[in-house]
Amino acid sequence: MCPSGPIFSGFEIVLDYYVLRVVQSPASIYGQRHTKLHNDEPPNAYNLHRLRFNLPPFFLPRLPILPPPTMAQVVGQQILRDPALFYWILFPITIVMILTGVLRHYATLLLQSAPKPLEAKAIREQKNYLHGINLRTNANQIPLSSFTSRKNYLVQAFQAGNFLKDPDAKNKPPANPMSDPNGMDAMMNMMKGNMMMIVPQTVIMGWINAFFSGFVIMKLPFPLTIRFKSMLQSGVMTRDMDVRWVSSLSWYFLCLFGLRPVFTFILGNDNAADQTMAQVQQMNPQANTQQLFGPGQDPAKMYLAEAENLEVMVQHEFVLDGIEDRILARI
């Protein structure tokens, strides 16, 4: 390989076969259709190819230079690439992707606003609701008498609405989440997260499309179906090039999905650099929010439902029942 060669990676080897034909064929021949083999024509690769591309009978023997790309050749296409493609396309994209991940991680850390401290009544509302849930899930850890007295107290208080933030709002329709400042805050956080994902993605894709489109930079080690051709070979307008030869945009996609181990070892495990993980977290926002009562939910109704749950809990099995037998069995 001589490094002073052209940066263009030579897919014109494949291209020129068709260009030559289009240039050299008279238009009148193209006007009619050639769908059948003549009697004296053997069904060899030349003729089948000729029929496939609707070329006249005398067409192929006249043309010099390249044999038609039969299937065997398409599988083993050889393209010599300039090493400069790696230095000036592959490595820049990779480095930019890694640095973008790091930047996104730190920007997310900066943009995260600390959850606003709630007022005392709201905290009381949340904590007592949690108390009910905890009592229900851990009922078996305490004796039946303790459980019953706790349950009676909580059910009574829940039904009376003792812990509500504003007991008068019991029968009002739930407030519009847009007007609620807490809801606005949560939505702002989601907006920020979305922005942190979408903006760098768009910018980098635009950058790659503007700078690096039209280069065939690498060969995938595994075959793909023809559907991926338009995506992976974007900017390379050759019809018969193997799908395994891909352009720079597909390296971008590979980096997008495969750089997670790199980020894990640069930034630690809980990083915000990876986009796929961020999307997963977007799907279930309930899991990591502090707020128990989301916007639009009526606390009074939730309290009533929880009281009912506590009341219908009949089965109680104390964890220490039969503990002696279990310990003796283990020894």
């Binding site: 080690p221 595994f222 495969g258 181990p261 964890v319």
Partner: protein, 110 residues
């Protein structure tokens, strides 16, 4: 209360440790799948051979994890035992594998 719930109730587990363990294991898997991708790229494996190599390598890594990190007792450190160690983070591992595989496949071959 069915038998499984009852067993979990009488022999409780520590969820934080469970999460931390599975994170460590999937970290190890993703790092090692990148290394396996480097090897596959250098060897010039193509299509099915490469993925077969990944599967064999994952099995090898799981064996190493069970021997070195877990001291031969996987059921102490993960709920599913062996199966959890092998199946940890397969999709992310494949992605990292494909990335380095492609990179080194292209870098090594002119």
């Amino acid at each position: 209360m069915n038998a499984e719930e009852r067993d979990l109730f009488l022999n409780p587990i520590v969820p934080e440790n469970l999460i931390a363990n599975s994170k460590t294991i999937s970290d190890l898997h993703s790092l090692s799948s990148s290394l396996l991708g480097i090897a596959a790229g250098i060897l010039g494996l193509e299509s099915y051979t490469g993925f077969l190599f990944y599967l064999l390598g994952t099995l090898f890594v799981s064996t190493l994890i069970v021997t070195f990190v877990m001291g031969g007792k996987p059921e102490v450190y993960s709920r599913g035992g062996w199966k959890d160690v092998i199946a940890a983070d397969v999709t992310g591992g494949v992605m990292g594998f494909v990335l380095t595989w492609t990179l080194f496949f292209g870098l090594v071959r002119v």
